[in-house]
């Protein structure tokens, strides 16, 4: 009997806290509506590099090191480094792990990486398998564009459903002891595919996964939207958010003003005329930048964060397959 399991998909935790976090974002993200919540903005989004992959790595590694500083720790103080990104073979994570010298758990959940990482870290800490775990992710517009879509300078007209990959890195330290909001529940989601084939419409592909995890979480924990001060989805953006609310509504769950989406919030409509932002750092920055700071100020006490990831690859898309989505949920509670 697994004593910490709650219902079919959820686990109940008691000890883990986020004791330090750092969000390090690009200039475009810094100029957006959430800009003032980020810990640092890099003026040059290529960060002096010619290769965007190197720039992405720099964002991830610097965010990780700054999060350690915030927690008052050194590399040797953490037991595991959990990281993931969007590039093939998650190179930004592994190359950062190379210089950190901490046992590394590489993860992939596309843009849901932040919740998968935080959830795993919280479970390791709560289970007594680690004292402190460093979690990080990053994404870079150019690196992702090159891998998933087209050359940067190509004349392409984006569709209204298109999302713009956010540039930046975000990291957090999860520990059993210290000050900071607690991670009290984790609901890892199923991979859900409702047959959306358009890789330019990831919000629509991911909305069913977000709704699935949301409803699973509510039924496992016996909670309703009324129990939370904020329900934050990752990067469904405008199009996906609308579908998510429709799907939740069909199951009798009204989210009302409690729902906010990271992808729809990172850029102003003027900055990005399409659906909004995406990228692994999108939900990470919304949680570790916006949510943590608003929790510290006392605006939110209990937050359900459910980042979403679109799990297709350029190859599966070219082969005509649909885009599977996944959503992992964590519950954050103020001290």
């Amino acid at each position: 009997m697994a004593a910490k399991r709650l219902g079919q998909f959820t686990v109940q935790l008691s000890s883990p806290r986020i004791v330090g976090a750092f969000t390090l974002m690009g200039p475009r993200e810094g100029a957006g509506p959430l800009g003032r919540y980020f810990d640092a903005i890099v003026d040059d989004y290529m960060w002096g590099e010619i290769q965007p992959e190197k720039a992405e790595r720099k964002y991830l590694e610097h965010a990780a090191r700054r999060a350690l500083e915030r927690a008052g720790l050194r590399e040797t103080d953490v037991d595991y480094f959990i990281a993931g990104d969007l590039l093939n073979q998650i190179v930004s994570s592994t190359y950062s792990a190379r210089s950190l010298g901490v046992p590394h758990l590489g993860i992939f959940a596309a843009c849901a990486t932040s919740a998968l990482g935080l959830g795993l870290a919280a479970m390791l800490v709560d289970g007594g398998f680690a004292r402190r775990v460093l979690v990080a992710t990053a994404s870079h517009y150019q690196a992702v564009e090159r891998q998933y879509r087209y050359p940067i300078e190509l004349n392409i007209q984006r569709k209204p459903t298109n999302q713009w990959t956010a540039t930046g890195g975000a990291a957090a330290v999860v520990a059993a002891e210290g000050e900071g909001p607690r991670i009290t529940q984790v609901t890892f989601g199923r991979v859900v595919d409702w047959g959306v084939k358009d890789a330019n419409d990831m919000g629509s592909a991911m909305a069913p996964a977000a709704a699935d995890t949301l409803l699973r979480h509510f039924s496992d924990t016996g909670t309703t939207p009324g129990d939370y001060d904020l329900i934050l989805t990752g990067d469904l953006a405008k199009v996906g958010s609308k579908l998510f609310r429709v799907l939740a509504g069909r199951a009798g769950v009204t989210l009302g003003g409690k729902h906010m989406d990271g992808g729809a919030s990172i850029y102003s409509p003027k900055q990005q005329p399409g659906a909004g932002a995406s990228g692994a750092v999108c939900s990470a920055a919304a949680i570790l930048g916006y949510v943590l700071k608003e929790m510290a100020r006392g605006r939110y006490r209990k937050v359900l964060a459910l980042p979403t990831g679109c799990l297709h690859s350029p190859t599966t898309w070219q082969q005509g397959e649909s885009c599977p989505g996944v959503s992992h949920a964590i519950v954050l509670e103020g001290a």
Binding site: Q51, E153, N155, I156, G195, V239
Partner: protein
């Protein structure tokens, strides 16, 4: 495979909902922008052709010089980081003229230069333009064959 098809067939209703809620592009606005960008590029091309008609000995040479000039313009605008903005604004108005074709090659060359001249730029600069060239040659060959057959039959 069958499981994939089940997943997709089982959610036809959702796929309809996605289509229904998707933001619709403003066709009139898009067409006007495409006309503006494409028209301006063609107008520049016409001025260049008129110039070369006065300076080149034959019509054929005037056209060749015009194409070379417009290709250069497309490459320069790509290198300056302007052409992708033109494409974002003008859509096919920027893509269809020969400057757009030049952009597909120059943008890929710039992008993959970062992996070196041989395995990067050399191997991948025709990533976007490649299919256009391949099927262009096939279509040209077939058309030429038909024209030759017609002329052979009609004597």
């Amino acid at each position: 495979m069958d499981r994939d098809r089940d997943a997709i067939d089982g959610h036809k209703e959702y796929q309809r909902l996605v289509k229904q809620l998707a933001p619709k592009p403003n066709a009139a606005k898009e067409a006007a922008r495409a006309f503006l960008v494409g028209g301006t590029l063609c107008l520049i091309g016409q001025f260049v052709l008129d110039f070369f008609r006065r300076t080149q000995p034959t019509e054929g040479e005037a056209i060749a010089a015009t194409l070379a000039t417009m290709i250069l313009l497309g490459v320069v605008l790509t290198a300056l980081g302007v052409y992708d903005t033109l494409g974002e604004f003008g859509g096919l108005g920027a893509a269809v003229p020969i400057t757009g074709f030049a952009n597909t090659i120059a943008s890929a060359a710039m992008d993959f230069r970062r992996e070196g001249y041989v395995v990067g730029m050399g191997a991948k600069m025709f990533l976007i333009a490649g299919p256009v060239i391949v099927f262009g040659i096939i279509a040209g060959t077939l058309t030429g064959l038909v024209a030759w057959l017609v002329s052979a039959v009609s004597g």
